[in-house]
């Protein structure tokens, strides 16, 4: 009889782990809180740094899950877990030989940075909203007009002591660059400003895209964090920042403010960790057994991690890590059987 592994979370990480495990002769079961598979990537329009449509990555994964007949429990949230299985919010339990936690992250709620006026002023949107608007086909201001000046603010809910998010969300910098280019393509006449503290272009092709944004798209980069946003009489938004490179305060009016909302630890992490006796890192993400040799193992044998549940990761990193997780699960299953 095939060993059975429950995977909590049907996003990119969970699906990739399931596919790999299935290939290795395991019976995976995906438990997904939402009604559909796909996780956060489903809300994304195009992927950095290549502008690949998100669907081009996600659809084949979902299709393969179906083709291989992998069992998926959608609309079912995991409430508690142990190495022997999971307990669903419905009270039902699923027994298994091992459990993979691939529950991902929670998007930072930009309303917590009240000074930026998200949810208060029209035309203050998050990066996720922008992707949704692009998916819906059009980016427009609340009154239906096109923006002439747009600001993207980096590090919203990242590297911010004030909202207890000390960590860097890693992907916002490149997302800001990507979205700035997309906006500039949509509105060639518009001025696009990125307000940043540091530009961290760690991935392959990221720095090149950054340079392209500067040189080919004339996207302005201002080194300074926006301190507040206020409405103006003409419906625009006035923002204030320090232009740290000149050491002077700067203010300007814009039509649209895009907040690059960061990745925060999944809200469920604490409950799940408590139920299984797992440890949380200081930033609230799941703590791995070891940062180098045991990055996908939990401190508890039989429970594994995949994807952004342990730290902010790009989609590419997540997919690559999924194989590691599957490997670690197989090692464990083999050792138990022996």
């Amino acid at each position: 009889m095939k060993p059975k592994v429950v995977i909590a979370g049907g996003g990119a990480a969970g699906m990739a782990v399931a596919l790999r495990l299935e290939r290795l002769g395991v019976e995976p079961v995906i438990v997904e809180r939402e009604e559909r598979l796909g996780g956060k990537v489903r809300g994304w329009h195009k992927l950095f740094p290549t502008f690949t449509p998100a669907a081009e990555v996600l659809d084949p994964l979902v299709a393969q899950i179906g083709r291989r007949g992998i069992e998926c429990r959608t609309g079912a949230a995991v409430e508690a877990l142990s190495e022997h299985g999971v307990k669903l919010a419905s009270g039902q339990t699923i027994e298994a030989d091992a459990v993979v936690v691939a529950t991902g992250f929670t998007l930072f709620d930009a309303r917590r940075k009240e000074e930026y006026g998200y949810g208060i002023y029209d035309n203050v949107v998050t990066s996720a909203d922008l992707e949704r608007m692009m998916n819906e086909g059009a980016v427009r201001l609340a009154d239906g007009s096109t923006p002439r000046r747009i600001a993207l603010l980096h590090c919203v809910g990242s590297r911010d002591e004030k909202v207890c998010q000390r960590h860097c969300s890693k992907v916002c910098c490149i997302t800001g660059v990507k979205q700035a280019i997309e906006l500039k393509k949509m509105f060639p006449e518009a001025d696009v400003f990125n307000f940043y503290m540091d530009i961290r272009m760690f991935g392959a092709g990221y720095e090149e895209l950054y340079r392209e944004a500067q040189q080919s798209y004339n996207i302005h980069f201002v080194r300074g964090r926006i301190s507040e946003a206020s409405p103006m009489i003409n419906g625009r938004i006035q923002i204030k920042a320090e232009d740290t490179l000149t050491g002077r305060p700067l203010r300007m009016s814009i039509d649209m403010l895009v907040l690059l909302a960061g990745m925060r630890a999944n809200d469920d992490n604490a409950a799940l960790a408590a139920s299984a006796g797992l440890a949380l890192a200081p930033n609230g993400f799941m703590q791995s057994a070891d940062p180098f040799l045991g990055a996908v193992r939990s401190p508890r044998r039989g429970i594994f991690y995949a994807g952004a549940v342990t730290a902010p990761k790009s989609l590419a990193d997540t997919l690559a890590e999924a194989s590691l997780t599957a490997d670690a699960v197989m090692d464990y299953l083999n050792s138990v059987q022996r």
């Binding site: 500067q214 040189q215 203010r251």
Partner: protein, 111 residues
């Protein structure tokens, strides 16, 4: 106005007001030399500057201010540059810094 003397004036705001700044010249400069936008503000140019070794001249600051539409005294500041070219040798972005210095002077000077 009665011209009363209060013993103090009203301080001018320090803010760079992009709304009231005329960015036309700045845009012209960037159009002629788009690579200036690639500056990451590392300060190598200012650090290596021959003129900056002898005065307060700060190339990075001047060109950043110009890009924000702050032209006041940019020409006079740029005139402190000796065009020796060290900055171009050290720029990690490969910006034609001497060209920038000359361009800013051309656009903001009287020739």
């Amino acid at each position: 106005m009665s011209g009363l003397r209060f013993g103090y004036g009203i301080n001018r705001p320090r803010a760079i007001d992009i709304d009231s700044n005329d960015l036309r010249k700045s845009n012209e400069i960037l159009r002629e030399m788009p690579e200036l936008q690639t500056c990451i503000g590392c300060g190598s140019c200012t650090a290596s500057c021959t003129a900056g070794n002898l005065t307060e001249f700060n190339f990075r600051r001047v060109h950043t201010l110009v890009r924000r539409g702050e032209y006041r005294s940019a020409y006079e500041e740029m005139n402190k540059c000796m065009l020796c070219g060290k900055c171009r040798l050290v720029c990690p972005r490969g910006i034609n810094t001497r060209g920038v210095a000359m361009l800013i002077k051309r656009k903001l000077g009287d020739f």
